[in-house]
Point group: D2
Chain length 302, copies 4
């Protein structure tokens, strides 16, 4: 039986959607991942997301998705929460992978909507999809709205209806439409947790009732991201706003501008194991790496 209240108390704070390192031959590099885990384990992060967009899930096989999850589970600090990205295009595939992820120890799953047959994915079809996944998933489901990648947007009315399902615990909204985020918070079940999907709108999301963020920047600047949240929790909104504004450029570099390639390059520069993205994503060009380095230095991160 799902006891929502208890679980949801954990579902707040800052999560890092971790990247998947690859070795020179393009295979998942588990030792490199172990090295990064040591860094995140010591950070103030609430938890990690394995197999999210930054984990290049769409470029991994099902076996690789589970293999990385297993390694993280076995090596994650006890106080950290573990979320697995398990969205697939087919409903049955998502359910199967969600069950497997729960079996590997994921405490909840992050499920992106299907996105190839856009013309067929009406609001009704998406609702049915998420309800079937939630009905059949042994752990709580977190919706994942990522319009820039999927070309679809989970509407306020859809999210609001889904928030009533006992096994749908929250949403990671990466769209960045703050009015939509506000409307979701206002219209959804009170226990429903809304997360900012990028650091660039973390603070406004928290102000309006969001419960945290799961965002690329948390991989490289976990302390600063958590500090925004701590300041907000302590009602130090002006100090939080100053910090928020200072994170915009670096956040853009590891998300909107350069994507996973930018995130991995920043990790390399900061002593973590980034490496190359998997093809067809290309590594950052030399010019962009130089620009990224200047951004990190200007922010006194390097």
């Amino acid at each position: 039986m799902i006891v929502r209240g208890g679980y949801n108390m954990q579902l707040q704070g800052i999560y890092a959607p971790i990247p998947t390192p690859f070795d020179a031959g393009g295979q998942v590099d588990l030792p490199a991942l172990l090295g990064n885990l040591a860094f995140w384990n010591e950070s103030p992060l609430q938890g990690l997301v394995v197999g999210g967009s930054n984990g290049e899930f769409a470029l991994l096989s099902e076996a690789e998705r589970l293999e990385t999850l297993r390694l993280v589970r076995e090596n994650l600090a006890e106080d950290k929460h573990l979320i697995a990205g398990t969205g697939c295009e087919a409903t049955a595939a998502t359910i199967r992978l969600s069950k497997a992820a729960a079996g590997e120890g994921a405490e909840s799953v992050l499920v992106v909507n299907p996105y190839y047959y856009k013309g067929s994915y009406s609001e009704d079809a998406l609702e049915e999809y998420f309800l079937q996944v939630a009905d059949n998933c042994p752990v709580p489901v977190i919706l994942y709205n990522m319009p820039r990648n999927t070309g679809l947007n989970l509407s306020v009315s859809l999210v609001s209806r889904l928030s009533r399902h006992a096994n749908i615990a929250g949403i990671k909204d990466s769209g960045g439409n703050i009015v939509q985020i506000a409307e979701i918070i206002a219209a959804s079940d009170p226990g429903f947790a809304v997360f900012a999907g990028s650091a660039s709108f973390l603070l406004p999301t928290l102000l309006l009732g969001g419960r945290g963020g799961t965002m690329a920047l948390a991989n490289v600047l976990p302390e600063q991201c958590c500090r925004v949240m701590d300041l907000a929790s302590n009602n130090e909104w002006q100090a939080a706003a100053t910090l928020q504004l200072g994170l915009l450029d670096i956040n853009a570099a590891v998300t909107r501008r350069w994507g996973v390639a930018g995130l991995k390059a920043a990790m390399d520069m900061m002593g973590l194991r980034g490496g190359k993205p998997r093809s067809p994503i290309r590594p950052l060009s030399r010019d962009c790496r130089n620009e990224l380095k200047q951004l990190l230095e200007a922010a006194r991160v390097l």
Copy 2:
């Protein structure tokens, strides 16, 4: 000589972009406008915008735009600030109308970018447009970004460069992209005033350093809008957030959902003089009016 500092101290707070009432024959109804002015004059609003999108400027002749401005100028309470919308498609037309508006007593002008020849309006062309207007306008210029109507977006880099011009005082950003708003605040001249262009993202804008808002909802709920700002100024962010969330549905009704027709219908219901929009904008249907009435009643506005 433009003394920016002094002027800009006034350029903050909540402004109402007022609608233009029409009589049964479709002509501008100056007595109705006078009636509305009495209401706004007694409100805590910082000022009014005449000839903005809610004023149906695109449906008015140049003479009508100036005629309404003159009436407002002559009847506006002394403590209120007056902004005139003066954007036209041609640069020379905007300059001519801006001079005329200043001549009528507008204290600043709100200038939307041209929008018909989208393919020709590169960032460079838009920059040249605004610089020419600012160089030739006797009063400060406020940029007006309204992507939903114009199909164009004023980018952060463009706005940031324009913010350095001594006669460009601020921006009304109606796009609602809070990351863009934050980036504009971070990248622009410190004296540059950023206004939320709709009540639905007023509070997040203020949190990140915005100076106020100019928004449809302020026509009908000026006290509530000003109260959001007062609470923010007093560091009562949580109370402000609760109020902000409560304004979302009504704000959508008078903007995104039903536009000027919704705003005018709400004014009629609340004892102001709304009336019909000018064709081709259609008045609100009976069903929508009923729904609007319920929204207003639910918010205890009626």
Copy 3:
């Protein structure tokens, strides 16, 4: 009384939507226009459109729109047909300008849909707009669909319904969606004339039942444009296709890529009077002019 059949027999063939020349001071240059008219009068063009997008109508005052129309009317060869662009944002303004244009001798009017208050311009609102214009216009109305500039698209069902009105004679569709054009032809009144709005899809439009084209390229290459149509009329489709393919690059240069600035630069190179566009449209840069010159030389036009 409108006798549709008789009139519509004329409404076919290739029309040039002529640009408006400006003098060094930025005013309409009537002598330059006269010079260009001499060229078009001797061409095989069916007629001219004054005050279309290429005429920079959105940058002209109402007086300028009528002034250029009058000059063309007085100097147009007797066998040419004259169409006036008369679309304004307000319904009443469009009706007034359409009546004035008819008074000046326009044989039909080309009416773009209003486009600023996109959220308010439902299909119903646009239908009402065009019906009111058609009911009140003394000469036949041609719909003008220009999604790239207006951000709106006139749907097949809307156009099909409007095609039944006795005073709506046709459409210039500049969207270039050949499936939509085919569906309009299949669904509209048999007497309704569908025109390609750009030379790049003239031949496919003719193949599916279109009656001609009104397009920027016809200003500079009227013979080639008319030859595509002649070949199609003679069932020489393969020869027409070869010619069509050869016009693509030049057409893109004077439309999608460089717009009115490109068209005017090409006119200058070919001995016509192009000159500068009106601000905020910028003249073609030196680099682009060089590229344009090469395109024209490669096509043996220069």
Copy 4:
């Protein structure tokens, strides 16, 4: 060694991108597929595409994609050409599946561009992707442009460059932008085969030099689709145009309007084995089925 000329002589005509039938339990229904094959084998189709969008490839496992391919290969009439859809998100996965498909007897592969990490898929990245696939695929590669599903468009310049690769034989363009199709034909290698990706723009594509079509409608109306092509080949363009216009409504029903669900419902009505799509695609509602039935009856297909 790839002998382009010889192979490409086959790559023309009308192909059906066949749907994948599922049984009551949601598994691939091979007997149903066999039944449909009997119909297509007797048709005038040039060949079949297995594992395209209509085959719900994005909802199938790799094993299912190969299993259906194998069954078709073993039961396809000798004179038919077999194309396998093999696009995956990761470059290595696409290469692996392409090799496996070739091993199963596919004569060429249809490769959609990757589409999840849109922000990372610059033109350069897409070029590298297709070049790597083409270099490593034992059979010719056909590019697949499907902007409505992928949210990306393969540009003219990209396709033109790729057309020079000895193992890239053609493109299925489902975007329906006839100007782009014309520009691709004009700019690409003369041996490069351009296919219309939907029946609604088959004839214009053929007129401009296209070599055929691969389209949903060919599954249910193969004779009519082939007849459009035969008429065009015989220079009977007017008759072809009449037929083309008559196919628009049915084509929309099995593509843009109702997608795979519409196609499968039409197959059921016509005595083929359509069945339900795989979740999250929903079967056609009763109302839509009724409307579809009327469309088919009006076209005298039922």
